[in-house]
Amino acid sequence: MSLQIRLRVNNNAVTADVSPDTLLVTFLREHQHLTGTHVGCDTASCGACTVLVDGIAVKSCNILLAQVQGCEITTIEGITPADGSLHPMQAAFKACHGLQCGFCTPGMIMSAIDLVTHHEHSSEAEIRAGLQGNLCRCTGYHNIVRAVMQAAPIMGGAKS
């Protein structure tokens, strides 16, 4: 069985014929060649595969492409402004040294963007709890939390 899927990826309309067992992350990485979205654990634990579906953070290794028929997908490749500058969350991760090896970073940033978008005034404790679905094995999280706290007011200010 082959399924025809229509959806939007980073503001582009995409059509694909896929087998029903295709995971969203497989489609993004192997069909769309958007390899910024990582596969860490493949068991919906680590969050490296986090993307936004209609603006909501999900683990793309744990969702079938068929389930997001007609949806708008945003990956790490889709958050940078057209002029090539960094998204405020990316800039804050850079400024605060919120990454070391970088493997978890795309998922961490997508998750943090969802968190700040839906909970603009989160406390440090709320940010820590909000990032429970993303594992980082390098940083110890302190600088990640600092980065999210630094980006939050900038993102809030940028909201139209």
């Binding site: 067992d21 919906a44 969050g47 998750s111």
Partner: protein, 265 residues
């Protein structure tokens, strides 16, 4: 999964017909448990019948003295629902503690209940509030819904459509989470409505269960001290590398006391 088919029905009747016609098909809700099971080879369904295209299965509604939550309502929607937070804050708190934020954005109450994972949170609330599980053909009281390890009273092609929670006077849910998965090592849901007390436990047995001894003691006086002399037998409780049966047995009255304290706060 080479021969997996996928259906996205546009009515509950069509979903039921698809399920009836294919005994090896599986209903798909949020997929947060079923997709990992598929990857692990624990399941090999012939088809998924995706309930994601049925908006009538989604949402929270206050109906008289009960709260009706559609089967496809996500944990995040329950946690953030103004109706749930106002009328059964313990349920909103429970939903906010399931898995992590991304999982809560996809996982659904109906999927969790139909799966009946022994360490899932929602079964404790359904049993602890004496809710009613609605399906496409009947209403199932919570007390006869959970049958065993990953087993419920649902028929193979029966579709869970909603859960109706009666509004309690007081309620609380306290869990001792397994720190990595945040599943309940043990979770206790307590409610008080009139003279009726319910204490439901998840994580400790093959499925959620009530504890008569704790309920009777609390029915006499709804206070944490009422449970001071009660111990739980460890017989037939779950044991794994995270905690022995005795450890879980010990946690049940401890968490129940904490839940009663919270319910009274």
């Amino acid at each position: 999964m080479p021969n997996l088919s996928y259906h996205r029905p546009s009515s509950i009747a069509e979903a039921a017909r698809l399920a009836r016609d294919d005994p090896d098909a599986k209903l798909l809700a949020g997929g947060q448990s079923i997709i990992p099971s598929l990857k692990l080879g624990l399941l090999a369904p012939s088809a998924f019948i995706d309930l994601g295209g049925l908006p009538e299965l989604r949402g929270v509604r206050l109906e008289g003295r009960s709260l009706r939550i559609g089967a496809m309502t996500s944990h995040a929607e329950v946690a953030n629902s103004p109706e749930v937070r106002k009328h059964v804050p313990a349920l909103a708190h429970l939903a906010a503690g399931i898995g992590d934020r991304q999982v809560r954005n996809r996982g659904t109450i109906g999927g969790s209940l139909a799966n009946s994972d022994p360490a899932a949170d929602y079964p404790a609330a359904v049993l602890g509030l004496g809710a009613e599980v609605r399906t496409d053909r009947r209403a199932i009281p919570a007390d006869s819904f959970f049958k065993g390890l990953f087993e419920t009273d649902l028929g193979r092609d029966e579709i869970l459509t909603a859960v109706e929670f009666p509004l309690p006077e007081r309620a609380a849910y306290v869990k001792f989470p397994q720190p990595a998965s945040r599943f309940a090592l043990v979770g206790v849901f307590v409610s008080l409505t009139g003279k009726s007390v319910r204490v439901a436990v998840t994580g400790a047995g093959p499925c959620a269960f009530r504890v008569a001894a704790l309920e009777q003691a609390l029915a006499k006086r709804f206070a944490p001290e009422s449970l001071n002399d009660i111990t739980m037998p460890a017989d037939a409780l779950n044991a794994d590398l995270h905690g022995s049966a005795e450890y879980r047995a010990h946690l049940i009255p401890v968490l129940t006391r904490r839940a009663v304290t919270q319910a009274l706060a």
